[in-house]
């Protein structure tokens, strides 16, 4: 029985995917994501050269040996772009997980307790939310210094209010629903009400926010490392590789600018296309805010 249902479901989903343009967009997005995940996981096997070692003359245009050319230190740009996927995806995932880990519990508690605590926390989160994200991340990154966890943390602080808002508003809406009342009447304690009755009902809405934030987090990470606040060199990083862009412009080394940039754009495109599709499927009624 179960197998039949799942087969039917998967068939229906496949048909749905290829019928609408949203489905195709989601599919392309997912394909891009899988591609970059693959690059990130298997970069040592795929990359033709060591990304941090000088392998040739500096600033060579793309040729048969170095498909994407070499940078100002004679390193293979193709290898750096491949390894760059690791840093970008690691930081983006880590940042989003930390942001969710801060935002979700605070949102749950704030929405459930209400009162002065809720008011103050909402004000603080709104203040963070209204502040230009990148500038806030710059400030935190400047204090914390370089490093994967530090950068992820700086980005996480920017996105935590999004989770807080989504969760808090929903919890405030459903905490007086009958099934919550019933659980309370049966003697369930607050922590168990929150975790077993409320959380499962508000969590699905977070999934879309999560996948949208991944795209934003990659952009913010690229911006931070472009400004020299990201990962310490010589670790390959797309944003950092563009930070000596002015030098490449002056020597007309288009390949050194083009390829890291294309990588950022494709990854962000992949995430945002995927999340857009996901949004349509999971919350057909919720219109996007952007």
């Amino acid at each position: 029985m179960k197998a039949v249902t799942s087969k039917y479901l998967s068939h229906r989903i496949t048909r749905k995917i290829f019928k609408s343009s949203t489905g195709i967009v989601t599919f392309i997005g997912a394909a891009i994501l899988v591609f970059f995940l693959f690059l990130a996981v298997f970069s040592p096997q795929i990359a033709p050269h060591n990304p941090t070692e000088r392998v040739s003359r500096p600033l060579q245009a793309p040729n048969s040996e170095f498909l994407f050319g070499t940078d100002n230190l004679g390193r293979d740009i193709l290898s750096r772009v491949i390894y760059g996927a690791r840093i970008a995806l690691t930081i983006a995932f880590l940042a989003v997980v930390i942001a969710a880990a801060i935002g979700i519990p605070l949102g749950l508690i704030s929405g459930y307790i209400g009162g002065v605590f809720d008011r103050i926390l909402t004000l603080i989160m709104d203040a963070i939310y209204s502040f230009p994200g990148l500038i806030l991340a710059i400030a935190i990154a400047a204090v914390l210094g370089p490093g994967i966890v530090n950068i992820a943390l700086s980005i996480a602080v920017v996105y935590a209010p999004t989770y807080f808002r989504v969760i808090r508003n929903q919890v405030a809406g459903i905490k007086d629903e009958l099934y919550v009342e019933a659980a309370r009447a049966l003697g369930a304690r607050s922590p168990s009400i929150l975790l077993r009755y409320i959380l499962p009902n508000v969590l699905p809405s977070v999934i879309v926010v999560l996948s949208m934030n991944l795209a934003d987090a990659i952009m913010t990470e690229a911006g931070l490392s472009f400004l020299g606040l990201g990962i310490a060199p010589p670790t390959p990083d797309w944003g950092y590789d563009l930070s000596s862009g002015q030098r490449f412009v002056l020597s007309k080394a288009w390949w050194a600018i083009l390829f890291p940039g294309i990588s950022i754009i494709t990854t962000v495109l992949g995430f945002s296309m995927f999340s857009e599709g996901l949004n349509e499927y999971l919350n057909p009624t919720i219109r996007e805010r952007r």
Binding site: L123, I124, D126, A127, I128, S130, F131, P132, G133, L134, I135, L136, I138, A139, I140, A142, V143, L144, G145, A215, M219, A222, G223, F226, L227, G228, L229, G239, L242, G245, Q246, F248, V249, L250, K252, W254, I257, L258, P260, G261, I264, I265, T266, V268, L269, S272, M273, R287, R289, R290
Partner: protein, 335 residues
């Protein structure tokens, strides 16, 4: 509520918001791990040097006392002195603010123009090539980092075609002395047309790069809202009365579509400021954003703190302005 009362309430509401932002900045820069003094002098400095600097910066006091000091000096408009240049941070920021305003204003106007007209036309021809193009443009520009677009433009228009200057605000050869700091305004005041043309040529690339990135958001919002409005009864009524299609589009549908967009405009302006930091760095544009990045390189903490406080102030002022404009346009907001 009368408009006057609304404005007063709105400004009063901004005070706790500004206070929270100040506290947040204080928390990030002073309490989080990382010692500003060690960051300035390095880990190997002798103990007495560290102690002296700590005293100078008021860091030897307790955290609450430091916070009171900080808030009081901010209220007096004293942002402290840069440890790098030993000049008041406020003076340095005043010199740089006009450059940022010139850049962001150019970008903003461009984004609004592209967004409004393309968005409205796309809504009129829904699902035709203009609309599909608009949607593609919005999705792709959303994914493009502004600094990458800037670099590519520098390469193409600055180096290969040699149409536009690669970086800076004005050619040094003109030995231009600013009056207000707004170069476009200054050169008009002086009647220096060569300088006006030169300053404008410098502004085009950073302005267009930033404007294009921001425009995608407007485009998307205008298009979606106009599509929604075009399906409303009052639009059908206008069409039925025989009003021309364009007049209905711009006079009825678009006008009403823009109202909800005003509400979220404040957030877009915040995005514009963040984009300005990256754009200014890319184009060596001497504004507040590149100032911040430069000060971070030298770990000049008073200057970093001052700049971020100014950014916070700008955000708060903009959100007040947006709300007031909104209340003017849509009287329902006031109740």
């Amino acid at each position: 509520m009368s408009l006057k009362n609304y404005v007063i309430t709105r400004i009063l509401l901004a005070i706790p918001m500004m206070f929270i932002l100040l506290a947040l900045i204080f928390f990030i820069l002073r309490i989080m791990p990382g010692d500003p003094v060690l960051a300035i002098v390095g880990g190997k400095a002798p103990q007495h040097v560290i102690e002296k600097l700590r005293e100078q910066m008021g860091l030897n006091k307790s955290i609450p006392a430091q916070f009171v000091d900080y808030v009081l000096s901010m209220l007096k408009g004293d942002l402290g002195k840069s440890t790098l240049t030993n000049r008041p941070v406020l003076d340095e920021l005043k010199e740089r603010l006009p450059a940022t305003i010139e850049l962001t204003a150019f970008a903003f106007v461009m984004a609004v123009l592209i967004g409004t007209f393309w968005g409205a036309e796309a809504a009129r021809k829904k699902d035709r090539s203009l609309d599909v193009g608009a949607r593609m443009f919005a999705i792709v520009t959303y994914a493009i980092p502004v600094f990458w677009l800037g670099l590519m433009m520098q390469l193409l228009f600055g180096m290969v075609l040699k149409w536009l200057p690669v970086a800076g605000r004005i050619s040094p050869a003109l030995s231009f002395t600013p009056i207000t700091g707004f170069y476009l305004v200054d050169s008009i005041i002086k009647g220096n047309w060569a300088a006006l043309w030169d300053a404008f040529k410098h502004l085009i690339m950073p302005g267009v790069a930033l404007g294009l990135i921001i425009s995608s958001i407007f485009l998307r919002m205008v298009r979606n809202n106009t599509v929604l409005m075009l399906s409303k009864d009052f639009v059908k009524a206008a069409v039925a009365r025989g009003i021309r299609e364009r007049a209905v589009l711009y006079g009825h549908a678009l006008k009403n579509a823009l109202v909800p967009i005003l509400t979220i405009m404040g957030l877009q302006l915040a995005l514009l400021l963040a984009g300005a930091v990256l754009t200014e760095t890319t184009f060596s544009w001497p504004g507040v954003g590149s100032y911040l990045v430069q000060k971070i390189r030298y770990r000049d903490f008073p200057a970093i703190q001052g700049t971020i406080v100014i950014f916070a102030l700008i955000v708060v002022v903009i959100s007040i302005c947006v709300d007031i404009i909104n209340a003017l346009v849509d009287p329902r907001v006031r109740y």
